[in-house]
């Protein structure tokens, strides 16, 4: 779906020389929390969440953008990851395992859930798949909400609190770090931990994209019949897409639980799935950079609206006509419609080839 010719050429400013582009992005990523900190800790928190969403968007992009399978229940994997962490590292069951056990386990469970969803839906395409995945997401949420009886597993709607923070090699990220007299706030520590995960994910996905698997996905996305005809095991490849995509969701969910310290089913509503989908639609399905930009934009959007839209309306009309939440919904829905009509490939469209022509940058 991304490989159509309607993709507009990139504006000149995006087409910076790649040799400048890359260090610039790295610098920006490293310096972002420092800049944000000067504007207040809440902005660092926004950045932290943005990275978690980037991770989610990368994972969903694998399924939707690469393999062309529309998944409307993606948030279920996020939930699986978050609940795994909450089960294995909180006073709820009295288990406190370290992150290097919990996080991979969460990812593995999410992957299993992904395969469990993928297996029966292999034959479905397009709209049907979308509806079934939507149903799957709701089923998972409803189970999490109700499994406090007859035996209490998830603690039901009350959620699980006092979840252990992320502790890496004895360093508790939930506490400010005192480094040679410099105070590094906990939020900044989390930022770099999340950034490391995002970078790892990017590297992995880029390798995947140009691998045999990535090319197989692209083939399925563009024409499943033809893909089958040239000998691609479409069943296997689709399962792989679901499983791998879910893994990213699981990791992100685990980090979310550790960061937030509290999980409850209301964090995993259908709306969240839609938001993540909009991120990749807006940014450019199938294109990593686009997806990341989309995720960051949409995470920052409510905060920006809160900061600018409300005072602006106050100044113009003397009262808030449209509150930020309504504006956000309005913009999200319009983005989905308008993007499909005007620029179906997203802000930063995927290049027409799945592989990198320029070997040096591969």
């Amino acid at each position: 779906m991304t490989t159509n010719s309607t993709a507009l050429p990139l504006p000149a400013s995006f087409a910076l020389d790649r040799r400048i582009q890359r260090p610039l992005v790295i610098l920006l990523a490293l310096a972002a929390p420092l800049v944000a900190l000067s504007m207040g800790k809440s902005w660092v928190r926004v950045l932290d969440f943005a990275l978690l969403y980037v991770l989610l968007a990368i994972g969903l992009n694998l399924v939707v953008g690469f393999a062309g399978l529309l998944d409307l229940g993606y948030i279920a994997f996020y939930a699986v990851g978050a609940y795994t962490w909450a089960f294995l590292a909180s006073p709820h069951f009295g288990i406190h395992l370290p992150f290097w056990i919990v996080l991979p386990l969460g990812a593995a469970f999410a992957a299993l859930a992904g395969i469990a969803l993928g297996f029966p839906t292999l034959r479905l395409r397009g709209d049907y798949l979308a509806i079934v995945t939507l149903g799957f997401g709701e089923i998972i949420r409803i189970f999490m909400n109700n499994l406090n009886q007859p035996i209490n597993i998830t603690n039901g709607p009350q959620g699980i609190d006092s979840i252990d923070p992320l502790t890496i090699a004895g360093l508790d990220l939930s506490k400010d770090l005192d480094l040679f007299g410099f105070q590094i706030p906990s939020l900044t520590l989390y930022y770099y931990a999340f950034l490391a995960c995002v970078v790892a994910a990017i590297i992995l996905v880029r390798r995947l994209q140009i691998s045999r698997i990535g090319r197989a996905w692209a083939a399925i996305r563009d024409d499943e019949l033809a893909a089958k005809a040239i000998g691609i095991d479409t069943r296997m490849m689709k399962l792989l897409a679901f499983g791998l995509g879910a893994t990213f969701g699981g990791v992100s969910g685990g980090l979310f639980a550790a960061f937030q310290g509290f999980v409850s089913p209301e964090s995993f509503s259908l709306m969240e799935s839609i938001v993540v989908l909009t991120m990749i639609v807006l940014g450019g399905m199938g294109n990593l950079a686009g997806v990341i930009v989309g995720a960051i934009m949409l995470t920052a959007l409510p905060e920006l609206l809160r900061h600018f839209a409300v005072p602006m309306q106050m100044a113009l009309f003397g009262k808030t006509l449209l509150d930020p939440e309504v504006l956000r919904m309005l913009l999200l829905s319009l983005a989905m419609i308008v993007m499909m009509l005007v620029r179906p490939a997203g802000l930063l469209p995927a290049r027409t080839r799945y592989a990198h022509r320029d070997r040096r940058n591969a």
Binding site: P157, Q158, S162, S186
Partner: protein, 377 residues
């Protein structure tokens, strides 16, 4: 001792400064709750209550530690969403608030309380009733309203002892609030010697309760309890009537609203009961006056939680006055030992931060409004 000297010195210094020019200190206090989203009405109500308290305090010209203090409300919108709540909490602590009234929903209060605890800023919720909030062992978390346990216990006991209901069916909406309340209620009914005739479930977006009501009807209970909000309780009441059920309908504070009366219409009768935490406003010495003042200021009636938000705000200000300081670390102990006569009743906290002896009042639908029947301490 040393500290006291320091305060004294500071106070003296400020007195000297005050002699030169009338000094006015601006103290910012936060309010957090859903101002947008489905629960916006509750958040707005709380915000208005908190705002009224601030305006009253400012009108009195309160002096703390020698300075005239001008309070300022910083209101934030948490959309009743757990994740947004933490961002909002962070922003409030960033903006240097000395205390926070909020959050309104338990799902928001619980994750936010961790951030206030780390920042050392007292937070008083006017309406989050989940028992878990104060079970986390945080020093900075307070609550001026009876929690779900207290409310469910009181209503359960009342239903069995006073309403003589032997068999009671329990429905909840699978939200943290509804489920917590329904569990406490069901427990209390059993302890009081009643019998739970059935436990049914719905959700907070449902409109059709015919199937579960039909099932309940078959067990012929004396009463049906619903743990949830008015938007579901009202159609539930209508459908009970439609099915010709004569069982009493009991709800907690979520169904004890004016909206409930409006939406359920003629489905309510003398067999509908509900509870609210606190003493009925009109029974309070200053209650009627508060309602009039509130109506005058904001042009609409109190929804539910405004008086609690008012008391929460006043508790912060009272504690600051007692401690002679607006600094959280200084006035937090005063908050712990607070004894303040609020709009909703006497405000004092136990060692967990819950209100001491929170009163629960049982109401009965009578001639188009909720009439208080009995207040249980």
């Amino acid at each position: 001792m040393k500290q006291n000297k320091l305060i004294f010195a500071l106070a003296a210094a400020s007195l000297v400064a005050g002699a030169v020019q009338a000094k006015e200190v601006v103290v910012r206090i936060g309010h957090a709750g859903p101002l947008t989203g489905p629960a916006a009405a509750f958040g707005k109500d709380g915000e208005n209550g908190a705002r009224l308290a601030i305006e009253d305090a400012n009108a009195k010209g309160i002096k703390i530690g020698g300075d005239t203090v001008k309070f300022e409300l910083v209101s934030e919108d948490d959309q009743a969403d757990p994740r947004t709540a933490t961002t909002v909490a962070q922003r409030l602590t960033d903006s240097g608030v000395k205390g926070v009234v909020g959050h309104v929903t338990s799902g928001a209060s619980i994750p936010a309380s961790r951030i206030y605890e780390q920042a050392g800023i007292p937070v008083i919720t006017p309406s989050s009733t989940s028992p878990k909030l104060t079970q986390q062992g945080y020093k900075m978390t307070f609550r001026v309203i009876a929690n779900d346990l207290q409310q469910g216990n009181a209503l359960g006991k009342y239903a069995v002892d006073q309403l003589k209901a032997k068999k009671i069916a329990v429905i909840d909406d699978r939200t943290a609030y509804g489920q917590g309340l329904a569990d406490a209620f069901a427990n209390s009914v059993k302890v009081s010697g009643g019998q739970i005739a059935g436990r049914e479930f719905t959700n907070d977006k449902a409109t059709d309760f015919m199937a579960i009501l039909t099932k309940i009807k078959a067990t012929n209970p004396d009463a049906v309890f619903y743990g949830g909000m008015d938007a579901q309780a009202a159609p539930l009441a209508r459908q009970m009537k439609q099915l010709g059920m004569t069982a009493k309908l009991l709800t907690g504070d979520g169904g004890c609203t004016g909206e409930m009366i409006k939406m359920a219409g003629d489905a309510l009768s003398a067999t509908t009961f509900c509870t609210q935490a606190g003493i009925p406003l009109d029974k309070m010495p200053g209650g009627a006056a508060f309602r009039t003042q509130f109506k005058q200021r904001f042009g609409n009636d109190i929804h539910v939680y405004a008086p609690y938000a008012y008391d929460a705000m006043m508790s912060v200000i009272e504690a600051m006055k007692t401690a002679g300081s607006v600094e959280p670390a200084k006035y937090q102990p005063a908050l712990r030992s607070l004894a303040y006569q609020g709009v909703t009743g006497p405000v004092a906290f136990d060692d967990k931060g819950d209100i001491k002896g929170g009163a629960i009042t049982v109401y009965n639908f009578d001639a188009g409004k909720w009439a208080p029947l009995q207040t249980i301490q």
